[in-house]
């Protein structure tokens, strides 16, 4: 206390005290100027208003500093107080604690302003420091990375706004509204569930708003603002100017969003939706009217704002009045009412700081949001379609890449379009293309492999090694005029690995057809059949046939078993057994409904596709007539098809085996039965089978055996389910 009492009576303390008092009117005057400026600027853009507010705010500490310098000893006659100094030592604090002489003058109290002010400044700066630590903690705790697509979109938006710094997007469970944290390494924190629940357009609006903050260096300005607020905390004008700057700053960013998206309505709806979400999560305890959000939205939607009867002029006049009073009060050196205490604004701020940080944030939809499905061909059909669509992958894909591809430099383009073209998902591809810097791309590639690493704990990435081994193998073994990885065989090899079995006919020549292709002997082009026992997502026992009809060494994948047949177009050569017997004609091969030129299979479906059947299927001239009726009753999405098999004879019982297949001969439904007791009106035996089929085209193959004579007959028909 001694030291303090001593210090209080130094000229410096006097100067500080006077500077504080003088700032009362200085601050008020500056605020009045600002109020007037804002009033005049009303219709103009937020940018000018923001500049005015900032300028005023930062002029305040400058004014204070100048006043202080002028008042410091050596400049001013206030140094007369030095005369007290000799009395001070040895007196200890006793006289100070005695009841003051009745009319204590303002000059006596004045020096005590300085320590009070220091204490206040220390308090506010300590709070600021705590806030800084809290903000840092906020970006480290309770966060998780958003779906990569959003990070990519953010990078795109950043590039569009010409931001030099990379911005990170994170989801946080501690914020209840989207916020920006950090200046050098900015992070945008989204509340949980926001990304999953709001429409993409609205999220983009939010992101643009936050990016606008970054572009305008608002975080730094805000820090400086806090510095000024803490320094001159006792003057309401400071808080008011600071609040004006904050408001106008948001307006500036609002303008940026509207400028970029061109739609104020979507943005206004976004703000309202955000506020609504927040309110749902946490019912506001205190009802306050005239919130800033309402003002902002009004401003957004009604650009030339109606000159509402504003409080600004009255406020400015009031401030001026206060300023003059303060100046008058300071000059004749009368005691001030009491130590100037930051009034309304400060109280409001203190209140604000008491509202706790960890608020409940909306989660409702987050739990419903499922992880992104991995894209894998679900069935053989989609597997085939998948290939049918991308027969020439590099060429086709390049076409669609558009402008983003331009930004990709060669090594990365090669990585995307060659190295991983067969295994990268569409989503990953989109993300990769949206990345802006090589650093991000490197990181993406690393994570791409890491995600596929079967043993992430080891240094080796077996998946990547195997992948590159396959590419090398394909290039070594399958290359022709086309690099090996681009060929069909290369593609299958890289995607599914080495087949379990290869039937190699790479020299072509004489070929004994299997019964499924009609039997007989023919001559073939070079071809290979690869058999996979199991492919995940495709099925078991998958046979892929590659044929090289042009003899260039470039085998292409085919679904048509007749494509390898070199004698296909030669009349009366390479006949099947049925054709040799004269039962069918070779020309019939060209009227298949499924587009292939395969001969009718000898004895039905290949054994691999159908269960074993009893009885040899030979055909006799006088066999039961088989007819098919394929009716359908369409019901939302799937049609119920009734397959009716009718026989011309009523004598005996028949055994029937039937299969409904896709045009590619994949079995959809198989049935077996006897026709013993069902006879239709015309006396024919009938077998009815109900099959539920999705719309599409199908084939029905039926084998019928007369149980008494042992006669068999098979037949096939194509039909359509609508």
């Amino acid at each position: 206390m001694n030291a303090l009492a001593l210090w209080v009576h130094t000229p410096a303390a006097q100067a500080v005290g006077w500077a504080l008092v003088h700032f009362l009117w200085e601050g008020a005057a500056l605020a009045a100027v600002l109020a007037a400026t804002l009033f005049l600027l009303r219709p103009s853009s937020a940018r000018a208003r923001y500049a005015a507010a900032c300028l005023t705010l930062f002029a305040m500490p400058v004014a204070f500093a100048i006043t202080l310098l002028v008042l410091l000893p050596g400049h001013n006659i206030e140094a007369v107080n030095l005369v007290r100094l000799p009395n001070a030592p040895r007196l200890s604090a006793v006289p100070l604690f005695q009841p003051a002489p009745a009319p204590r003058t303002f000059r006596d109290l004045l020096p005590w302003l300085a320590p009070c002010w220091f204490a206040g400044v220390a308090f506010f700066y300590a709070r600021g420091l705590a806030a800084w630590f809290a903000a840092r903690r906020l970006r480290q705790r309770g966060i998780c990375a958003p779906p990569p697509a959003w990070q990519g979109r953010l990078a795109q938006l950043g590039a569009r706004m010409r931001l030099s710094r990379p911005v990170r997007l994170l989801e946080s469970c501690f914020t209840d509204a989207p916020v920006l944290v950090g200046y050098l390494r900015p992070v945008i924190l989204m509340p949980l569930g926001c990304l999953a629940n709001l429409p993409a357009g609205q999220i983009e609006c939010i992101l643009i708003h936050e990016l606008a903050h970054i572009r305008r260096h608002d975080y730094l300005v805000n820090l400086l603002q806090g510095f000024v607020e803490g320094l001159l905390f006792y003057h309401p004008a400071v808080w008011w100017a600071s609040r004006m700057a904050r408001e106008e700053r948001e307006n500036c960013c609002d303008d940026a969003v509207v400028e970029l998206t061109g739609d104020a309505r979507v943005y206004a709806a976004t703000l309202a939706a955000l506020e609504h979400r927040r309110a749902l999560a946490f019912e506001a305890a205190v009802a306050v009217t005239g919130g800033s959000l309402m003002k902002r939205i009004r401003r957004l939607l009604t650009q030339p704002q109606p000159a509402q009867p504003s409080a600004a002029p009255a406020f400015a006049a009031g401030l001026l009045l206060v300023a003059f009073t303060a100046a008058l009060a300071a000059w004749p050196a009368r005691p001030p009412a009491r130590l100037p205490i930051p009034s309304v604004a400060l109280e409001a701020r203190l209140l604000e700081s008491q509202t706790l940080e960890p608020q409940s944030s909306p989660l409702t939809g987050a739990l419903q949001a499922s992880p992104i499905p991995r894209q894998q061909p679900a069935a053989f059909l989609s597997f085939l379609n998948f290939f049918a669509q991308t027969q020439a992958p590099p060429a086709q894909r390049k076409g669609g890449d558009g402008t983003a591809q331009q930004a990709l430099t060669t090594p990365y383009r090669k990585w995307l379009n060659e190295d991983v073209v067969y295994i990268i998902t569409d989503e990953e591809r989109a993300t990769f293309k949206s990345l802006q810097t090589d650093e991000e791309r490197e990181q993406f590639i690393e994570q791409f492999w890491l995600r596929r690493d079967p043993t992430p704990d080891t240094v080796e990435n077996e998946f990547r090694e195997e992948h590159y081994r396959r590419i090398a193998y394909a290039n070594e073994h399958f290359a022709s005029l086309v690099p090996g990885w681009k060929t069909d065989r290369g593609r299958i090899y890289i995607t599914y690995g080495p087949p379990d079995e290869i039937e190699d006919h790479s020299s072509g020549g004489s070929y004994q057809r299997p019964a499924a292709e009609g039997g007989g002997t023919t001559s073939t082009f070079p071809f290979q059949q690869w058999r996979y026992r199991f492919i995940e997502g495709v099925g078991t026992n998958v046979i892929v046939e590659f044929v090289d009809p042009a003899m260039t060494g470039e085998y292409h994948m085919t679904m048509d078993p007749s494509e390898k047949d070199a004698l296909l177009n030669v009349p009366n050569a390479g006949l099947t057994i049925l054709e040799q017997l004269g039962i069918t004609d070779k020309s019939q091969r060209f009227s298949n409904p499924d587009g292939t030129h395969t001969a009718a299979p000898l004895g039905g479906q290949p054994n691999s596709a159908a269960p074993a059947r009893g009885g040899k299927l030979f055909v006799s001239a006088q066999d039961p007539r088989v007819s098919f009726v394929a009716g359908d009753a369409a019901a939302a999405g799937t049609g119920l098809s009734v397959v009716v098999v009718q026989f011309g004879s009523s004598r005996d019982s028949f055994h029937v085996f039937g299969e409904v297949t896709l045009p590619q001969r994949r079995v959809v439904h198989a049935f077996e039965g006897t026709s013993e007791n069902s006879v239709n009106v015309s006396g024919q035996q009938v077998l009815t089978e109900f099959v539920s089929l999705p719309a599409g085209s199908y084939r029905l193959a039926v084998a019928v055996k007369d149980m008494t004579t042992g006669e068999t007959k098979n037949s096939e028909i194509a039909f359509q389910v609508n």
């Binding site: 998780c144 994170l170 469970c173 955000l274 009802a287 959000l293 944030s361 989660l363 987050a366």
Partner: protein, 131 residues
Amino acid sequence: MSAKLSDPPRPTDAELEILTVLWSRGASTVRAVHEAIVRRKPTQYTTVLKVLQIMAEKGLVRRDEKQRAHIYSASRPAEWTQRQLAGDLLQRAFGGSAKSLLLGALSSRRASRQELAELRQFLEEYEKGTP
């Protein structure tokens, strides 16, 4: 009282991060959680697995073992954990003041119900006014 006893303990920072992923993505496999976390910082798969197992023991997460890949889900909503952490004095002292540093599309003060109603009315009127 019994409910109080069965309340899981306050999550640590590492656990909180995993919880955040689960809240954000919904019920997930360990692999999915790992994928989300590794995007932010390099973490071993086994680490995530271990932490999840510990959390399951503590009762912070639930494990669904019906499928081959176990599926984890947060046992408490985000609000509950936020309340738990609000008891943290440090958090309370810091949380409020941090707001003055954050820049957001919304002000740190929440809108009241009345304001929201006004807002909605205004937007509706505006929509009507500009077909």
